[in-house]
């Protein structure tokens, strides 16, 4: 630093003597002493020059705190400039010299009484910046006076000072009643004072989320709106941000606020514009969509957003990040403005990438030709990141706009012909996604792709290529050679490639078993024996076991139809989006993260939600858009006899016949196997929205690679796949039993029907194990022994996992408790009602039959918590006719209690939203056969009637699920 300063001065030898650079010339050794002498000089001018030198040193980060007493001595002066300079110094160093700082107090107090308002304001302002407790005590009286000063300049400065003081000592501010004074200032006659009071209050409120400090009511709102027109641009930002927190009483009020805020859209300051956009976006929710004004407002929003894009690049960037949110929420606003997002070659890269993202969001059939032409153009640019993203964007277009798919594919092929390495690799990654979206349509290009096999050196591209080879092994003559070539360096590959290779070879084997046995052996042993990677080993074992137990089943599992990938995989999940819309213009909106998630130490951020107009419970509000473009054939909920499920599970998984309760591993294994067939299948087969290493068929690329901000989602969701695998191997481990509702035992078999044997019982799910708990009561005169139990085929394949353990005979009038672990791998037949179970019990006397009904929650898996995004996609994907709605009457729990209770039965709440006092819980559960049930539970405070909507690919289960809800909630 020293050298630099000297050099700086040398460079400026020719410079004028009048410049401040001369102050740097003294920054050499011993200077502190020199400065000390100068500061204590009698000559005013010399003092001032000395202080300037001190300040100059400060600006370059030099420590001049040792001069504290000398500088403070210069404070008592009538020279305003000198005073200001000393104050500047004080603010910087008071904290490190608290005892010295106290020396300044008297001058401060005196200055607060000065005749010149500028000096009064300066003093109160500086005092507030000195974060020393001792000083704050002295600050109170002067501050109180300044808050009521006749001069508005002093009042507005004092308003800010309250916020500063509050940050140092909140209690003091409250005790002294400053908060009330501050609130009074909202009604001040001067708009600048109002703006600063609002800013100060908002800041204080941020640290006291529930303080209700900014008690917004129609009167204060009116004052704010009046001040909005008159105060400075910065004040307008504070006021608008404050307005955004208000919830209008009705659509009328909403509209009138919107009308008064709209002129701000024409402000030259982009921060004002964006804050106004936030208010409008939020209050618009209240307006009925059929209102003329609603349409007018939509139209008014487009031009200012477009204008933001002609500002400086940094402003553009922030604007683009926000526009990204806005187009997700209300695509109609900018749907005709595609062209403003076209990329110019000299845009900074961060602007280019954002523009590209928005282009894809706005892409539609109407403009796809233009978009594609642009993307092709971009794919030949210089910047590698940008080119890659452009190539991926072409893939996204293909998936989003079906009509364009063919064109996209041919564009991608053109790009592959350029042989630019990274372009080829990106193209292959996206082509794989296109294959998944449109199976059996574009496979003719495979040959071209194979030509570039050698040049692929990125794991993602290699994995994609391997997937393609595996998936279409039957059409590629030398598929085995191709895959074998990858196998050579198996251990050097990344996990992604290894997993993909494993799956691809298994696929190949299942398709061409005769020639590839050796290959599959090789890969299985590489994966299971030579690898340290648990994911790889686990997957290897699953395949191995599947292949060795039943190749037919393996075929069904491995070559099962994959879930389709949806068009928009990087959409922000709706509750987060709503929250972010309420935070337009903030850092949260730039990072697309909930505000609570990232600002350090933010003290209890309030979650903001959009409130919608009462009358319109329509599409935007609910995750159901009714426009599910693709819907895969719903899997038959209850497979008919002898189909895949039965076939596979009738394998050798018969319950062990050992005495004593069966080891936990056995049902675990079975459940895991079930898992493979059902929901687990989705995840194993690669649900594109899951950025897990373990994707077999799908690519996480589209979702994860597409500029999705890191850690955008809270990490608390259990990804189904890991859940599934965990289940498979340590299901016996401590599961959650807390709060599980266990129905009381009821009499299943009355004594009179069973020659004196009375059986009452219930079902329990503990740690993932279903048990039938029974009390057997001997009401006959003779001893009963030799008990055995059998189930009839039933809807979910429930079967005893072991023999009924009643080791001692039951004497007359004796009763005995028995717990029978159940598996869900028994033969399947649809029952009426669905949860009906027919049981046969045998003893030394006779065989008795009874039927009972189990709560369907017995079948809800512990890993039934769906990931938010998957939930959203699935909800959309399930056709509307599969939705059923029920009322649950007379339930007096609040939503949180309900959610907790339900969780005990493996009904997981994924998200909660509050709309006008109505809590909406989004919940998921997963049945043992892999069927997912999605629910939306609406709880209105004070209303004992809940509404529940259930969506499931197998709507037959809805009735049962609803009954289960009712039982759990009411007990």
């Amino acid at each position: 630093m020293q050298e630099w300063a000297n050099q700086l001065c040398e460079n400026r030898q020719f410079g004028s003597k009048m410049t401040d650079s001369k102050y740097f010339t003294t920054t050499k050794k011993g200077e502190i002493f020199e400065l000390k002498a100068e500061l204590n000089s009698d000559k005013k001018e010399k003092k001032k020059e000395a202080v300037k030198k001190v300040i100059a040193s400060m600006t370059v980060g030099k420590d001049v705190s040792a001069l504290f007493p000398d500088v403070v001595n210069c404070m008592q002066t009538d020279n305003l400039e000198l005073k200001k300079l000393v104050y500047l110094y004080l603010m910087n160093y008071a904290k490190s010299q608290p005892d010295m700082a106290i020396m300044a107090v008297n001058t401060f107090v005196k200055d607060c009484e000065d005749l010149n308002p500028l000096i009064r304001a300066l003093a109160v302002r500086t005092m507030g910046c000195i974060r020393v407790d001792k000083i704050t005590e002295y600050l109170c009286e002067p501050l109180r006076k300044c808050l009521k000063d006749e001069d508005p300049y002093v009042r507005k400065t004092a308003a800010v000072c309250v916020a500063k003081l509050h940050d140092i000592n909140a209690q003091l501010v409250e005790d002294q009643g400053f908060l009330d004074t501050l609130k009074d200032l909202i009604s001040d006659s001067n708009p600048m004072v109002v703006a600063n009071a609002v800013a100060a209050l908002s800041e204080i409120a941020e640290s006291h989320p529930n303080s209700n400090l900014l008690d917004l009511n129609p009167q204060t709102i009116n004052k704010l709106l009046t001040a909005l027109n008159e105060c400075t641009e910065w004040g307008q930002i504070f006021i608008l941000d404050c307005l955004a927190n208000y919830s209008p009483r009705d659509d009328r009020e909403s509209q009138s606020i919107c009308e008064r805020v709209t002129p701000r859209l024409s402000h030259a300051n982009s921060a004002v514009v964006l804050s106004a956009v936030k208010v409008l976006m939020k209050f618009m929710e209240m307006l009925p969509k059929d209102l003329d004004y609603y349409g007018t407002l939509l139209k008014k929003l487009a031009p200012p957003l477009v204008t933001l894009l002609s500002a400086e690049p940094e402003l553009q960037y922030v604007a683009l990040r926000n526009i990204n949110l806005i187009v997700q929420r209300r695509p109609e606003i900018l749907k005709h403005e595609m062209k403003v997002f076209f990329v110019k070659y000299n845009d900074p890269i961060y602007v280019k990438l954002e523009k590209l993202d928005i282009m894809i969001r706005l892409a539609s059939q109407a403009n796809i030709a233009q978009v594609l032409a642009e993307l092709k153009e971009y794919a030949t640019e210089v910047d590698v990141d940008f080119v890659r993203k452009a190539v991926r964007a072409i893939g996204r277009c293909a998936i989003k706009v079906e009509q364009s798919a063919e064109r996209c594919v041919s564009t991608l092929l053109d790009l592959i012909q350029t042989k630019v390495n990274y372009v080829v690799q990106e193209a292959i990654v996206v082509i794989k996604d296109i294959f998944r979206k449109y199976p059996n349509k574009y496979e003719s290009v495979i040959a071209t792709l194979c030509e570039h096999l050698e040049s692929l050196d990125e794991p993602e591209a290699r994995a994609a290529m391997i997937w393609i080879v595996g998936e279409y092994a039957e059409r590629i003559d030398n598929a085995d050679e191709l895959l074998e070539s990858f196998l050579e360096g198996f251990h050097d590959e990344s996990t992604q490639v290894q997993l993909q290779l494993l799956t691809a070879i298994v696929k190949l084997f299942l398709k061409k078993p005769t020639e590839t046995q050796e290959l599959v052996q090789q890969v299985l042993s590489l994966a299971t024996q030579d690898s340290d990677n648990p994911d790889l080993r686990d997957r290897g074992y699953i395949y191995w076991r599947l292949l060795s137990t039943d190749p037919v089943a393996a075929k069904e599992v491995v070559l099962a139809e994959k879930p389709l990938i949806s068009e928009e995989t990087d959409l922000i999940e709706p509750t987060l989006l709503e929250e972010l819309i309420c935070h337009i213009g903030t850092l949260a909106s730039v990072y697309h993260k909930p505000p609570s998630a990232f600002v350090e130490g933010s003290r209890g951020v309030q979650h903001k939600r959009l409130t919608s107009s009462a009358g319109s419970g329509e599409s935007v509000e609910s995750p159901d858009t009714g426009s599910a473009a693709v819907s895969e054939a719903p899997p038959a909920v209850i497979p008919s006899q002898g189909d895949l499920l039965g076939d596979l599970l009738n394998l050798d998984l018969t319950p062990p016949t050992s005495t004593g309760p069966p080891p936990a591993a056995a049902p675990g294994m079975q459940l895991g196997a079930m898992d493979l067939l059902g929901g687990g299948l989705d995840s194993l087969m690669g649900d594109e929205s899951e950025p897990l290493g373990g994707d077999i068929g799908g690519s996480p690329a589209m979702g994860a690679g597409f500029g999705a901000p890191p850690a955008a989602m809270p990490a608390s969701f259990n990804a189904p796949i890991s859940g599934g695998l965990d289940d498979l191997f340590d299901l016996g481990g401590g599961g959650m039993t807390m709060g599980t509702y266990i129905p009381p035992k009821t009499v299943w078999l009355p004594a009179m029907k069973a020659k004196g044997l009375e059986i009452s019982g219930t079902f329990v799910r503990r740690s993932g194990v279903i048990q039938m708990e029974m009390t057997l009561n001997n009401k006959a005169m003779s001893v009963m022994s030799d008990f055995a139990i059998q189930f009839n085929r039933n809807s979910f394949g429930l079967a005893p996992a072991g023999p009924l353990q009643i080791l001692t005979p039951i004497s007359p009038n004796q009763s005995i408790e028995a717990a029978l672990p159940l598996s869900t791998v028994g033969p399947v037949m649809k029952m009426e009602p669905l949860n009906n179970l027919q049981v046969a019990v045998k003893n030394n006397i006779d065989v008795f039959y009874f039927s009972c009904q189990y709560p369907i929650s017995m079948l809800f898996l512990e890993d039934g918590k769906m990931e938010r995004q998957v939930f959203l996609a699935t909800w959309k994907d399930i056709p509307n006719e599969n939705e059923s709605q029920f009322q649950i009457k007379d339930c007096h729990l609040n939503s949180d209690a309900a959610s907790n209770k339900l969780q005990g039965s493996n009904i997981f709440t994924i998200a909660k939203r509050t709309v006008e006092g109505q809590d909406m819980l989004y919940q998921s559960m997963k049945l043992t056969n892999g069927i997912w049930v999605l629910a939306e539970l609406r709880v209105q405070a004070g209303n004992p009637n809940y509404t529940i909507s259930l969506k499931c690919r197998a709507p037959e289960v809805s009735q049962c699920v609803f009954q289960n809800y009712e039982t759990v909630l009411k007990n």
């Binding site: 600006t59 974060r131 407790d133 500063k164 024409s266 031009p303 400086e312 850092l587």
Partner: protein
């Protein structure tokens, strides 16, 4: 005693600190509005700067474990602010630009050497502009009353007399409802001049089709009028202006109801209005470009042939015509002939500039010849884009025209004038 108030609860202010950093990455000024934050916080920024290669590409918002760094890059300087709380980033960026504007306004240029020459004044300005993260005074009129801009004369006088360059009175405009204008303005010559400047932003593809075109318009004002003049400006065709943003002085209601700009102007130079014309049919493209740039598969060379002609110039002459091409890296030299103007090729930056001057519709300028490539280099993958610069005097290409300018509130007769100018903004032709 004060130890209970540690760093982690001092998060009140919006903008915590400001660092000014030069092109080379040296911090040459720091200002803290509360506690001092170590300049090591900038290391995250330097890391990003390193990664971005070009300074223009440094992301404007960076996250560090404890802070957010929000920066702008202007005049080859980075203005880097450190924030700790949730702050609207646009607010910070706008403010930083305002700081740069103020420095420019005070010292004539925003450069490291000028800032160092005036470091104390800059420091005082920064203090005046922000209090606890709240902008205090950002209007140049107000600031200049609080802290006088340096003039050679005043520096000399100040040195001789020891008087100060800090105003000791509360600025008159600071709290009035027209904070942008100070009271008691006096001129012997009263004048109000307006420049309507339009920039054409366009992307034209290789076939000559306009992919995208829009006009960024601005009305710059230079008003030196005595007292409190109240001006109103009307247009022949205000319907063009459906996307506008105004200086705070413009009365929005009057605009909404009458489509007239009514305002009490700030004293001096200011931007009265920005507007944006994006409707394609209103945006005319003044010139066409016929170009052919190609590189041969065999041999290290390529050809270039560019001709420019007038398209829609509204009867005016196109001047200051210039073509800039960022050539692919492999291009070593250009051996070209220009029928008009001069060309130069900068080997270091790979930028070819052809400075044409006036466009003569009778004899169209042409530049043609060969490009030589680094031997052994593969054929360049990227096609260079052409950037066109041009000017057309006395016309606003959108057709916007001022019809009247009136003054109320004062008795004297001012000189009034409106000039029009059309320029190329970001005008790109793809090849």
């Amino acid at each position: 005693m004060d130890s209970c108030h540690t760093e982690n609860n001092s998060r009140a202010e919006m903008i915590h600190s400001l660092f000014l950093i030069n092109h080379a990455g040296d911090i040459f000024l720091e200002k803290h509005w509360k506690s001092v934050i170590s300049r090591s916080v900038c290391d995250y920024f330097f890391e990003a700067k390193e990664k971005a290669v070009e300074p223009e590409n440094v992301p404007p918002v960076l996250q560090t474990p404890h802070h957010y760094l929000i920066s702008i890059y202007r005049d080859k300087l980075f203005f880097l602010s450190v924030v700790q709380t949730e702050v609207p980033p646009l607010f910070v960026i706008e403010f930083l630009h305002r700081v740069a504007d103020t420095i420019q306004d005070y010292f004539g240029e925003c450069s490291e050497s000028l800032i160092n020459d005036n470091v104390v004044t800059v420091y005082e300005l920064l203090e005046e502009m922000l209090d606890n993260g709240f902008p205090l005074a950002t209007e140049s009129n107000v600031l200049k009353e609080m802290i006088r801009p340096p003039t050679i004369l005043r520096s000399v006088v100040n040195t001789l007399t020891g008087s100060s360059n800090v105003g000791d009175k509360l600025p008159s405009g600071q709290l009035s409802s027209i904070p942008w204008r100070r009271a008691g303005v006096k001129y012997t010559n009263n004048e109000a001049y307006f420049d309507v400047i339009e920039e054409i932003d366009a992307i034209v593809d290789k076939s000559g089709t306009t992919v995208f075109a829009e006009i960024q318009g601005v009305i710059e004002a230079s008003v030196r009028l005595t007292g409190m003049p109240d001006l109103s400006m009307t247009f022949m065709n205000p319907s063009l202006l459906d996307d506008v943003s105004f200086h705070p002085c413009v009365r929005f209601k009057r605009w909404e109801s009458e489509r007239a700009l009514s305002f009490i102007p700030p004293d001096g130079n200011f931007t009265l209005m920005n507007y944006h014309v994006s409707s394609q049919n209103l945006v005319t493209i003044p010139v066409y470009v016929k170009q052919n740039i190609c590189f041969f598969e065999t041999g290290p060379c390529g050809r270039l042939d560019i001709t420019i002609g007038p398209k829609q110039t509204m009867g005016k002459t196109v001047e200051a015509l210039m073509v800039t091409i960022h050539m692919p890296k492999a291009v070593l030299s250009a051996n070209l002939t220009a029928t008009q103007g001069n060309y130069s090729y900068d080997l270091a930056t790979k930028v070819l500039v052809w400075d044409i001057g006036k466009l003569n519709p009778q004899k169209l300028p042409n530049l043609r010849g060969s490009l030589s490539l680094q031997s052994g280099a593969p054929k360049p993958e990227d096609n260079p884009s052409l950037n066109i610069d041009l000017k057309i005097q006395q016309v606003a290409i959108s057709g916007l025209k001022v019809s009247r300018l009136e003054m109320n509130g004062e008795k004297y007769k001012p000189f009034k004038g409106v000039k029009y100018l059309t320029k190329a903004g970001n005008f790109q032709v793809r090849t």
